[in-house]
Structure formats: C-alpha cells, structure tokens
Homo-oligomer: 154 residues x 2
C-alpha cells in the first residue's frame, strides 16, 4: 500500500483497511494481523495503526476480542453497505471533479474506458497525482497593512 503525505496516515489506513474488507481481501470472520504486525508491514508506528483500527471498529467493520485479536465482522450486510457507501462516495467525487473542469459524462466515460485497463493493471503507466510539494523555494508570506486587510479569518 502506498502512503502519501497529503493526509494523516491514520486516515489513509482507515480507507485501506475498509477497502481490504469490502473487497474480500480480508473475508468475513477473518482474524486481522496484529497491530504490531500491520505496523511493521506498512512501515508506520503501531500507534497510528491502532488509531486507524479503532475507527474501523467504530464503523462496525471489525471488532476486538481484547486479548485474542481483532476480527472482521460476520455481518455480511454491514460489509456490503460499507462497500456501497465507498462506491457512492468515490463515484460522486469523480463526477464532481471531472464536471468541475468542464467534462461531460460522455467524455468522462470514454476517458475512463480508455484508461481502465492500463491504470488498473500497470502501476507504472498511471498518471499519479501531483505529489503535494512545497512551492519551490519560496517561504509562505502574505499580508501587510494591519487592520482593514485580508485578515478576516476565523
């Protein structure tokens, strides 16, 4: 799994764990790897994994036996509901994004069909998102005059 710096790691882990569950990668009833094992695999701190798993618990996709481990829920409906929710979120976000740059549904559908195979199969061929880099050498900088200026933030 890929982790980037654009969002809190624990939030990315929540998404990844949910994905593994709704995709069947972690089937219903299966015992999850331990907190420490997951942390090792993912290259993050166990604290971060724990935080993410607590949120997955909260969403009802996993539960913990306190000392014997953590397990995927056996409630199949909960899993499929989560899958539908994730799908809907993803689709809506995509629709908003592409319509926001002036694309039509037909354009979006065509582009999707054209890139599907390659994007899904060949990670190297993907167009990765702009990696969230600091704007060149500049610092931060901003305002000036004291009172009537653009400092109307919260």
């Amino acid at each position: 799994m890929e982790i980037d710096e654009s969002r809190p790691i624990w939030a990315q882990l929540v998404d990844e764990f949910c994905r593994r569950i709704v995709s069947g990668e972690w089937p219903s009833g299966r015992k999850l790897p331990s907190v420490r094992e997951l942390a090792l695999d993912l290259g993050v701190n166990p604290n971060t994994v724990q935080k993410a798993l607590a949120e997955v618990d909260r969403r009802g996709l996993t539960s913990t036996e306190r000392t014997s481990g953590r397990f995927v829920t056996t409630d199949a409906e909960a899993v499929s509901a989560a899958r539908r929710a994730i799908a809907a979120e993803t689709v809506d976000g995509f629709a908003i994004a592409v319509s926001g740059i002036g694309m039509s549904l037909a354009e979006a559908t065509d582009l999707l069909a054209g890139r599907w195979r390659i994007a899904v199969a060949d990670p190297a061929a993907r167009v990765d998102p702009e990696p969230h880099r600091e704007p060149s050498s500049r610092t931060t900088n901003a305002a000036d005059s004291p009172a009537q200026d653009g400092r109307t933030n919260q």
Copy 2:
C-alpha cells in the same frame, strides 16, 4: 469553494485555482484577484493563499508582475496540457479506487451514469466522503515490548 480538513488548505487551494484556470473560469490573460482579496473570499489566511499561488506559478499556469498583480498564462497549450493532466490523474485515481473494491469497468460506468446528474447538480444529494473524524473516545495508543517490536519505522 469547500475546504475540508483532510488535506493542507494550501494544497486544496492549488487544486481549486488550477481548476478555475483549466475550466476557463479564469480565462487566459485574466488578472487574478489579489492575494488579500482571495483570502477574504475563501475565508483563509493570506499566507495560505500566497503559498498556493506560488505553486500555481511554479506550474506555469500563472505569473506575477510583482507589483501590478498576477495573471493567467497566455500559453494556451500550457493550460490545455494542465487540463489533460488533471483529467488523467482524476480518471486513473478513480479507476484504481473502484477496481480496488472489486468493481468492473461496466459497473463503474453504470454507477457513474446513474449518479452523474444528481451528483453534479444537487450538492445536497451527494454522498460525501467520511469526514475524517477522530476514532470515538479512544486516544492513540499502541506498542509494548521494547526491542523486537513493531517499531521499525523511519
């Protein structure tokens, strides 16, 4: 424009400004609102706007006249290239996301067609992403034993 807490604000502003340019909302050659004005409109600190605009400059979509203001590039090819890049990123990301939860291209296309109109037109009907909330009452917590444990982070 909507700002959430899932990513640095300045990064969201970069995306938004690029979107306005490639969508034609800010046409080629047009003078951008001032840093302070944008900060006021968006409800953020001028520093944050400045940081975002510096990045948009770096990407070649805007340039600054230092004292007279900031302008959208007149290089039409740069704009359309940026639009293509954004579209490709968005489509690839979508393809990976939906295939990651086990959807086929046909399913994705159908779902997209079904949700297109409503997601684009009616913000209230959208399925919003999980709002990145702290996992209930729990703290953070994690590991234990000292040496041979999962603390193999960087």
